[in-house]
């Protein structure tokens, strides 16, 4: 708990700044491909499948499948960007580049390093979510989706807050996997199910109690439903409270675990 407030320390921000400077140096390669991924997904799922799926009833409103998928893509981006950033990019910095060793030889301590990585991954989630929102705004103008545009600017901020939690979750695996090849486990066995059992691409109404509980505790589900509620009805329902609760508790818990395992790995 004593390390939680270190998120606001200048040293955490120094790590965030370092990662941001690298990003700005390579922004052409770092920005476009991941930002375009959800656009491709939208074209494939939203527009491609719309002809087969048709319309969906969402909380009393009949909406097109493309309109249903659009908020899900924002949620998926806000989850996937920080999660994969803290898995792969952070692992490369820690293991291959020894960047973390260099930083830890300064006034920066391990809690600041972990917080800096979490903050940076969350900011990346914000940036990519903002791109998706901008693209969806264009699609709305083209009439491909019907969204309450006024809420679009709020969603990257929500995505960033949730992204801090997803990033801290990813860092746990970064601290424990023996090699980068082992990242397949968290990616396919954890990341993929979380992003699918979350009403991002299709509505789920599971009969099994355990699956309903899993969904209820899944922040990506609440992020997707909050986004959808705002963009379709202008009302997130109870999902916003769940989202804030799940991600706040998750962030502090995952940070504590990630910090513990990173300390064990880096400092023995």
């Amino acid at each position: 708990m004593k390390y939680w407030l270190e998120a606001f320390d200048w040293r955490s921000l120094a790590v965030l700044r370092r990662n941001a400077l690298v990003y700005l140096r390579n922004w052409r390669t770092a920005f476009f491909p991941p930002a375009m991924e959800p656009v491709v997904f939208f074209l494939a799922f939203g527009l491609g499948l719309q002809g087969y799926v048709g319309e969906i009833n969402y909380r009393g409103a009949t909406i097109s499948y493309a309109t249903y998928v659009a908020p899900g893509l924002i949620a998926y981006t806000a989850f996937g960007t920080p999660f994969y950033e803290s898995l792969y990019s952070a692992y490369v910095r820690m293991f291959y580049q020894k960047t973390w060793d260099g930083i830890l030889a300064t006034q920066v301590e391990l809690p600041h390093l972990v917080w800096g990585e979490i903050l940076w991954a969350g900011v990346r989630g914000f940036m990519n979510s903002a791109i998706v929102c901008a693209v969806l705004a264009v699609f709305d103008l083209l009439g491909w989706v019907e969204l309450r545009m006024a809420w679009l600017p709020a969603l990257p901020f929500l995505g960033m807050l949730a992204g801090f939690c997803f990033s801290a979750f990813g860092l746990i695996f970064t601290a424990v996997v023996p090699s980068i090849d082992h990242m397949n486990y968290p990616v396919f066995l954890i990341g993929m199910p979380i992003s699918l059992i979350s009403n991002t691409y299709f509505p789920l109404e599971p009969q099994q109690a355990w699956l309903r509980t899993a969904m209820q505790l899944n922040p990506v589900y609440h992020l997707a439903e909050t986004s959808r509620g705002l963009l379709v009805h202008g009302d997130p329902g109870g999902h916003l409270s769940w989202l804030i609760g799940c991600t706040s508790i998750g962030l502090l818990a995952f940070f504590t675990i990630a910090h513990h395992f990173t300390r064990r790995r880096m400092l023995g």
Binding site: A14, R18, V22, R25, D101, G102, A105, T106, V108, G268
Partner: protein, 311 residues
């Protein structure tokens, strides 16, 4: 009386049941180089890592300028510079940016960062590479950049962990000159090295570690004398009487080391006189001991004690 720049008391660290550093007492003053020597596994890097705060000691205290490192860690880390054994350069940045970004990890801020970076680029002969990636640098220039980066914030004490390992002779000499400049500028330097000539040339004081404990300390020649004696008897392979000399050495209980085809035996003046008396017709070759002999002796005693432990 001013407190030493660095002072440790009873510094200890264990990993599991293995005591890596035990009851270590060190002192380093401004404008001096303290050499930490010892074979692999002697506890040099662990000691350094405790001193610059990378790992926590299990016991003992570390004081910088008389101030307790455990209590004023953040403030005291501001006066510490660290050049790690591994290449920890930031390959996402250019040479110049490596210095600029690293300066951002210290508070109070480095005044006039741009000017400071320019100074270091010139001092370390890196100006021509300022916009290049560290990938483009040779081993010697990478080491220069690592050292330059470690002093970008004007530290008072610098830790150099095996700074010339893997460098060619010219690059090693260049690093020695840089270390000498830093010492002359008043910086305290703590150096670990495997190279005996490096330790002899650079160190004002030597501390020899063996299995985490201080085996000897003092001026380089004092350390050699306390651990090895005054002379090293060299028995070349072409010495006809070598078997007889070895027999005498064995009878006297003196240790020997085989280096390629030569056999070396550290001896005192008294022991040398005894050997000459027992083998008056043999022409013995004798030279002063150096730190290579010390390492051989340390390695021999470490391996014999560890093999003894296995038994």
């Amino acid at each position: 009386m001013t407190a030493p720049l660095l002072e440790t008391r009873g510094l200890s660290k264990s990993y599991g049941d293995r005591e890596v550093v035990s009851q270590l007492e060190l002192i380093c003053n401004a404008g001096s180089v303290l050499g930490l020597l010892g074979p692999n596994g002697a506890g040099k890097t662990t000691t350094l890592r405790m001193l610059y705060g990378f790992i926590e000691p299990d016991a003992g205290e570390i004081r910088y300028r008389g101030r307790d490192f455990a209590e004023e860690r953040t403030a005291l880390k501001r006066i510490i510079g660290v050049c790690t054994q591994e290449d920890t350069l930031d390959y996402d940045f250019s040479v110049e940016q490596n210095l600029q970004v690293y300066a951002g990890y210290f508070n109070p801020r480095v005044p006039n960062v741009k000017q400071r970076v320019q100074e270091l680029l010139e001092q370390f002969d890196l100006t021509q590479y300022r916009d290049a990636s560290p990938h483009a640098l040779s081993g010697g220039y990478k080491q220069r950049l690592l050292i330059a980066r470690s002093i970008v914030h004007h530290p008072e004490i610098l830790f150099l962990d095996e700074p010339t390992t893997g460098l060619d002779p010219a690059a090693r000499v260049a690093v020695w000159e840089l270390v000498d400049q830093l010492r002359k500028a008043g910086m305290g330097v703590i150096l670990t090295t495997h190279y005996m000539d490096e330790a002899e040339r650079l160190s004002d004081q030597l501390v020899v570690l063996r299995e985490g404990r201080v085996a000897a300390r003092g001026l380089p020649h004092e350390v050699l004398g306390s651990l090895l004696g005054e002379h090293v008897l060299t028995l070349r392979s072409d010495l006809e009487e070598r078997p007889q000399v070895l027999e005498v050495l064995k009878e006297m209980g003196l240790p020997t080391h085989k280096v390629l085809s030569d056999i070396l035996a550290p001896v005192t003046a008294r022991q040398l006189a005894d050997i000459s008396e027992r083998l008056p017709s043999v022409r013995l070759t004798v030279r002063p001991p150096n730190l290579d002999d010390l390492f051989l002796e340390l390695s021999r005693s470490s391996s014999s004690s560890s093999s003894g432990a296995k038994k």
